[in-house]
């Protein structure tokens, strides 16, 4: 039997922190606290172990090893103490999958109404995967996808279904 179009691997051990603030005022403070520059609109900044994604004009998502989460929340909260801002731990509210392999694009292309050819290398796209909200960005060999914890089983099922062997999108 041929191989699946892509490997669907749940990713554990990530902490996630939602930051809501006026990014035009607080960008510097956030960058310093997060250890990453604030990304441009619809981009994600990464440095290997940490990533900072642009979620909305007044919202960022900091992704980091879960061990660093509590400290990061404290540092961010302190850094934004003088600002109107909201820092919230959302690590447990999310489920993360890495979709990697030669046909990872096809798996995503079956589920998300996203033009992947126009997704920049550091692009972050929020959209839906079939019937559930999801966001994705590129990682080496494929994509990282985040969705809601409660729909993790659904997300995994539709990803695996989309990856069944022999179903690549290339014309035959």
């Amino acid at each position: 039997m041929a191989e699946a179009l892509a490997q669907i691997a749940p990713v554990e051990g990530l902490g996630m922190i939602t930051i809501r603030a006026d990014l035009s005022r607080a960008a510097e403070a956030i960058a310093e606290a997060a250890g990453l520059s604030v990304p441009d609109m619809t981009r994600i900044a990464t440095d290997g172990s940490r990533a900072l994604g642009w979620m909305s004009p007044d919202e960022l998502l900091l992704i980091l090893p879960v061990a660093e989460r509590d400290d990061a929340i404290t540092v961010l909260t302190d850094a934004l103490a003088g600002e109107h801002a909201l820092v919230a731990d959302v690590s447990d509210a999310r489920m993360v999958f890495d979709v990697t392999g030669p046909h990872a694009d096809d798996v995503i292309g079956k589920l998300m109404p996203v033009d992947l050819a126009n997704l920049p290398p550091d692009g972050l796209r929020r959209s839906r995967a079939a019937q559930t909200a999801a966001a994705l960005w590129r990682i080496p060999g494929g994509f990282r996808l985040i969705g809601f914890r409660s729909t993790a089983d659904y997300l995994r099922l539709i990803l695996e279904n989309a990856a069944i062997p022999g179903s690549q999108l290339a014309p035959r």
Partner: protein, 976 residues
């Protein structure tokens, strides 16, 4: 003249591979085809010309066409879950082991009892059903309807679930070309030259459209274009992919067949492409029209193009002696093709007086008789063509001679395939010279930018000679709508327009006479074009007849509306991944698997699955509910409350904002305290409720109902972004960040105090409607002293990843206390025992808080909140509203949920007037009697009165109006 072998020609057939024989079954017979056959060519190769029965008269039908327009040759295909009705023989590839069943006949295709309708046809004109089955009225239900229902619908619906897999995929392109014929491929090359991504879709397994079949140099021209396109990175060529519809803003749906009728491949059977196109070029070709002469539906009468397709593409002889009848040059190709294949071409009958193009000349040069100015007066033969009677086209049908033949290849001209262009608003113009509707380039379908989003190329654009040099000079056609021109009624009554639905020339004329002058009305009155081919064959001929009957130009009549899909789509492609376990995203709490392991009977709440109850041993789910309630009332129970919405609202203006969101005053809530809040919409109606906790000076946490979390978060963001966007407030929906466990019952505190931790859970430190946070069993937790059961109760929120751990710990430590997991139904009953309202039970989108006696939760001090103005409207304040009361059944039976209370007297229609309804009704295990709540006019002022609730059986149940709080009226239990 009989239909005689050999049916498969000894040579030829560009699409078949004779080396691979494929066995299949047709109505129980074992037959063989070859690789590359369609069902139609395989059946013809076996001498099977009879392929179906028409819908109304059950007349014998052979294949008419060779493509998607085929109206006759439809089969039930496959077995069990893979059975599909109405599969088109002309477009379905033969797969080894296929099982075909003929349709619309009984007991068999050859001897069909329904054919008696054919003899009754003079009695079954258009509109027959409308006129006949009206009276006498009782006959409809008992006589007409059962008979009509039995005979209605073509083919049988499958009974078993479809075991095949389907999928969808998204694609984006600057240009999508629909049609892989010479026009489409040329357009694709030109588009690719200009830059951008190009997708080319071809419905057939092979590229080229008609060009390779019709032209000697055709295949080479196609191959050259394909080679060019395949060399380009920006071009995607996708065959077996039929564009089914073009929608707003360049949204194009296309169905790709991957493993149709071939389940062994193990891949999705079909894939529905959802393509967003910058521009669409439709190069969908043209469809040949039949000619309307008497008995043009006898098997063996086929479109001229289909005859040469079967010969050239599949090496199949539809017959041995062929008569071609035409009003144009193109059909002469069929004569040449047939002769070249060694078949006898008896004559070409041309309605035109002086056909002089290259093709007629070539036919004459091949010594094929050409009869000009002639027409077919009538086809002879019953189940199969035996010959034709000839007449003058200009005359009234007087027979001038006869010819023996077994196939009539007819061509009434060509109609561009304008479906995609028309789906989204593109308009058509009538081309008098070519006798066809073609796309009007000045009125294309418009895209998001207001510019035309589709253009048309080739034959689809009316350019029937788009193969360029290959098509040389073809003469103009002559419009021929009936043959002969002055055919009398007896001939016109035998001229078929819609072959599947049995609509004849006289039926359309009758519709016109009876006033159905609009083409849309005439269509529905006669069912013209309503068959599974959706008028591909019949539409233009029918509206030409209608125009003649109305004595108006064809442009004035217009066409019926072209609606997607171009050809039927199986529902599987539309559902795609959304089936079985993936039908909907089921939302699961962190403790879901524990519930499942412990026997929970789940119920859907929005997309969540929540335990309804946890039956044990031989218990049913209702017995479990009773046990769970008693466990909570007498000991302690746990409820998974993780699904409750949890929205954090923070900022300098958060208090002011929440004062607008809730009917209560939230800005004055002290830090550390909780308050039950009501949320209304601008109509004043109660839309959600929940406990609000003030976390800090500028931060509140708002609980919503399970179904309300996303909606209420969206509602808050709407007001923040669109109305009070200068207020400094941020919200975050943290619903899924926390697992939440309600621990309720007189021994709840005792249980929780067994957990090590830093939170003082005592009555003094943590009184009712307060919260505290700290460490609980090594987990960072927030504990709310709130109660929906009326018992001493704590709700504990912990990070979702630790929820199961805490839940299991509570059950380990509480075993000796009899700690019992309880489900949503126990929660519902207990809140009803306490007279607490439930959004969705006591509310239905028309209920204001005041109706529910919740005035205490509506601030009188606030100048404004969402819904305040609406609640001041006159009819919200008048005394006639239905208001919340308790209801006590008089005979000890549980009132049916939703039952209506009636008033004395009747309304103008003689119906009983209502004065209230039951909103919640249960058997209370605590009180060992039925309890109910309801909304009743002037209810609270009518304590003690008895209401009557008529049942559907005619019986009347009675209930007394009582206080809605049935249990622990003084509220002592909440403190344990």
């Amino acid at each position: 003249m009989s239909h005689t072998p050999p049916f498969r020609l000894s040579k030829g057939g560009r699409l078949i591979d004779r080396a691979y024989q494929l066995a299949f079954r047709f109505d129980g017979r074992h037959l063989r085809g070859v690789q590359g056959d369609t069902l139609a060519s395989a059946l013809l190769a076996n001498g099977q010309m009879l392929m179906g029965r028409s819908f109304k008269y059950h007349r014998p039908r052979g294949p008419l066409a060779s493509g998607a327009e085929e109206p006759n040759a439809l089969f039930g295909l496959g077995q069990a879950g893979r059975f599909e009705p109405n599969q088109r023989a002309s477009t379905t590839a033969l797969v080894p082991g296929m099982v075909l069943r003929s349709q619309n006949c009984w007991p068999s295709l050859d001897a069909d009892m329904g054919a008696i309708n054919n003899w009754l046809s003079p009695l079954l004109p258009a509109g027959f059903y409308y006129k006949t089955f009206i009276h006498p009225r009782p006959f409809w239900k008992h006589v007409f309807e059962p008979i009509i229902r039995r005979s209605a619908g073509l083919g049988r619906a499958p009974v078993d679930p479809d075991p095949d897999r389907y999928e969808q995929a998204y694609a984006f392109a600057d240009t999508v070309v629909v049609g892989g014929g010479i026009a489409g491929l040329t357009a694709a090359r030109d588009a690719a030259d200009k830059g951008g991504r190009v997708i080319v879709l071809e419905q057939n397994p092979v590229w080229g459209g008609r060009t390779p079949t019709d032209h000697d140099g055709g295949q080479a021209a196609i191959d050259a274009l394909l080679a060019d396109l395949r060399g380009r990175d920006t071009v995607t060529l996708r065959r077996n992919c039929m564009a089914t519809g073009l929608y707003d803003h360049g949204y194009l749906l296309a169905r790709e067949t991957l493993a149709d009728h071939d389940p062994n491949q193990g891949i999705p059977r079909q894939r529905l492409w959802r393509i967003r196109a910058g521009h669409v070029i439709t190069a969908t070709g043209a469809l040949e029209r039949p000619l309307s002469f008497a008995c043009n539906d006898v098997p063996g009468v086929m479109l001229a193009s289909a005859v040469r397709d079967f010969i050239t593409d599949y090496g199949v002889a539809p017959g041995q002696r062929i008569v071609v009848v035409t009003n144009n040059d193109d059909a002469y190709r069929t004569a040449l093709t047939a002769q070249r294949a060694g078949l006898e071409v008896v004559a070409v009958i041309d309605a035109r007086l002086r056909p002089a193009g290259d093709l007629p000349q070539a036919v004459r040069a091949a010594n094929i008789p050409v009869m000009t100015g002639k027409a077919i007066a009538k086809v002879k033969g019953g189940p199969h063509v035996e010959g034709v009677a000839l007449c003058d086209q200009a005359g009234d049908g007087r027979v001038t001679g006869t010819l023996d033949c077994d196939v009539v290849a007819m061509s009434g001209g060509w109609s561009p395939v304008v479906h995609l262009y028309s789906h989204c608003g593109g308009k058509l113009i009538w081309d008098e010279a070519e006798a066809m509707f073609r796309p009007d380039p000045d009125r294309p379908p418009l895209g998001a930018d207001g510019q035309g989003m589709a253009t048309v190329a080739g034959a689809a654009n009316g350019d029937l000679r788009c193969a360029g040099d290959l098509e040389r000079t073809e003469g103009a056609p002559m419009p021929v709508w009936v043959m002969p021109q002055r055919a009398p009624y007896r001939l016109r009554a035998k001229m078929w327009l819609d072959f599947q639905n049995d609509v004849k020339v006289t039926d359309v004329e009758l519709a016109a006479r009876e006033g159905y002058a609009s083409v849309e009305h005439a269509k529905r009155y006669t069912t013209l074009g309503m068959a599974t081919d959706q008028g591909k064959v019949s539409n233009i001929n029918g509206l030409a007849i209608l125009s003649a009957a109305l004595d108006q130009p064809i442009q004035a009549t217009g066409t019926t509306t072209f609606r997607p899909p171009y050809s039927p789509l199986t529902l599987g492609t539309i559902a795609a991944e959304a089936r079985g376990d993936a039908f909907q995203p089921l939302r699961k709490t962190p403790m879901h698997d524990w519930h499942a392991r412990n026997g929970a009977a789940f119920e859907p709440v929005g997309h969540w699955r929540r335990p309804y109850s946890y039956p044990r041993g031989g218990e049913d789910r209702h017995a479990a509910v009773t046990r769970e309630i008693l466990a909570v009332r007498n000991g302690v129970g746990t409820l998974d409350a993780s699904t409750l919405g949890k929205i954090v609202v923070k900022g300098p203006d958060a208090g002011r904002f929440l004062d607008m969101m809730y009917t209560n005053m939230m800005s004055t809530l002290p830090v550390g305290k909780c308050r039950y809040g009501l949320m209304c919409n601008e109509n004043g109606f109660l839309m959600d409720d929940g406990v609000v906790a003030r976390l800090s000076d500028d931060t509140w946490l708002c609980h919503t109902t399970t179904g309300g979390a996303d909606r209420i978060h969206g509602h808050m963001e709407d007001w923040l972004q669109c109305e009070w966007w200068d207020w400094q407030v941020y919200t975050a929906n943290l619903t899924e960040q926390y697992a939440q466990i309600a621990v309720a019952g007189p021994r709840a505190r005792e249980l929780l105090q067994r957990l090590p931790g830093t939170i003082d859970l005592g009555q003094q430190a943590l009184p009712f409607m307060t919260w505290a946070e700290g460490d609980l069993a090594g987990i960072r937790a927030r504990v709310y002293r709130i109660s929906f059961s009326g018992e001493l109760s704590y709700e504990i929120a912990v990070p979702a990843n630790r929820g199961l751990e805490l839940w299991e710990k509570l059950h380990d430590l509480g075993r000796d206390l009899g700690v019992t997991p309880y489900g949503t139904e126990a929660m519902h009953v207990m809140r009803a025992e306490k007279g607490f309202v439930m959004i969705g039970d006591e509310t239905d989108g028309t209920v204001i808080p005041q109706d529910l006696g919740l005035d205490w939760a509506i601030s009188k001090k606030k100048a404004d909140y969402i819904g305040k103005r609406a609640q001041a409207r006159s009819f919200m304040r008048d005394g006639g509203r239905w208001q919340l009361v308790g209801l006590e059944s008089l005979d000890g039976r549980v009132l049916p949920d939703g039952a209506y209370a009636v008033e004395p007297g009747v309304n103008a229609n003689g119906q009983r007037k209502t004065q209230g309804r039951v909103t919640s009704s249960y058997h209370s295990p605590t009180l060992e009697r039925p309890i109910a709540m309801g909304l009743v006019r002037h209810g609270p002022a009518r304590m003690g009165q008895v209401l009557e609730f008529p049942m559907p059986s005619g019986e009347v149940m009675k209930a007394r109006i009582v206080d809605p709080v049935f249990y622990d009226k003084e509220g002592a239990r909440v403190n344990g």
